[in-house]
Amino acid sequence: MGRPRDPELAGLYQAMERYIDGDARAYARVHATLGRRLRGFLLRILSDREIVEDLLQVTFLKAHLARDRFTLQGGDPDGAVQAWYFAIARNAAMDHLRREYRKSRREVKHGAPDGDDLDPMAKIADQGPTVEELGLDRERELEIVERVQAAIARLPEGQREVVELHKLQGMSMAEVAERLDLREGAVRVRAHRAYKALARWLVPSIFAIFWSAP
């Protein structure tokens, strides 16, 4: 019941292992396989081609510096390499967006005239969230969604299927069991293990996000 494997990615894990061990030709293979896909992925987040090219370079550089930390997760080794690179690309894009957001916020601050009495809008009490706060909230939400998605992707295939059908598609345990041709008890065990693992991976990071929030 697993996802069909992408034939273009065949042998990518082997190439990654050799690249980690220092094989320059294997790096070229990884780059050739993932470069176009990563560019397309980044273009879906950012529209500026120049920035996307820069972020693509950043992605490969960050991956190179962190290559010793690459570990195989899940039952699809080639897909795991791609997922790892995509996670780095996504983080690079998010970092870029955050930087741009802060930069534009600073520019707005510096551009405003000194003293509230010059700004008639400043006299109006506003109990609701400001645009900045809304932006930060949205950023935080996106980060949580990404973390949850990444954590689900880390689960073993059997557990991931159960979580996706039960939590994301809203099926009951009995329906999931029928769909996967398993006993309901087995589905419950998988779900229990999956949620336990997700809790272990996610709780500290979400806590950290809220803790670090201003």
Partner: protein
């Protein structure tokens, strides 16, 4: 972004090339020391009298095994060359078969006088002891040169321990003129198996410690 873009590809390729050069710098002194150990041991214990009288295929096989143990196996284990999976399987299987064939030799061809003198303890050393002593010293060179921590996968250490074992076994093969199974099987190949097992354990421990450090 008007600044000229960094060529990250070239940077990464350069970094990989630099790490290869660093590995070679570690490997070459270790190789020289290993050559000295094997050569020195053969000089001390003596080269078999019938070395050049062996059948040409056997001598050729032994020379190929010297190349395998000194260059090819360590280079794979250290990550200096990256043969494909099929080439690695071929090398491993071929290496084992060639080792057995080179050690046992052609049945019925013996330098009987040399063998009698050897087995009577001409040098006062058993083949197994020579093998383990040579293997121990070469293994120590490997551990001290950091050979077992160069690659991330633990499987890589087996290529180096195979090289260590083969170097020790070849030393004994060029020292002892025996080709009969009754002596070669326990004394040479048996000793090599013991050395391989011990070396693998020590190398794996060195690998794990090196990766943790």
């Amino acid at each position: 972004m008007t600044q000229p873009r960094l060529d990250v590809d070239a940077l990464i390729q350069g970094d990989l090339a630099r790490s290869q050069r660093a590995r070679r710098r570690h490997f070459l002194p270790a190789l020289l020391l290993t050559l000295l150990v094997c050569g020195g041991l053969l000089a001390i214990t003596g080269v078999r009298g019938d070395l050049l009288d062996q059948p040409p295929w056997q001598l050729l096989l032994q020379i190929s095994l010297w190349l395998l143990c000194f260059l090819i196996f360590p280079a794979i284990g250290l990550g200096l060359i990256f043969p494909s999976r099929s080439a690695r399987v071929l090398l491993a299987v071929g290496g084992v078969l060639a080792t057995v064939a080179a050690a046992i030799g052609q049945p019925g061809i013996h330098d009987l006088e040399g063998l009698r003198r050897h087995l009577e303890g001409e040098h006062g050393l058993g083949c197994g002891v020579v093998l383990l002593a040579a293997g121990g010293v070469i293994l120590a060179i490997g551990v001290l040169s950091g050979a077992f921590v160069q690659r991330r996968r633990p499987a890589a250490v087996y290529w180096i321990t195979a090289g260590v074992t083969l170097a020790a076994l070849n030393t004994v093969t060029w020292h002892c003129p025996a080709t009969g199974l009754a002596h070669v099987l326990p004394g040479h190949l048996g000793g090599a198996l013991v050395l391989l097992a011990l070396a693998s354990v020590i190398a794996l421990v060195a690998h794990v410690r090196g990766q943790e450090a």
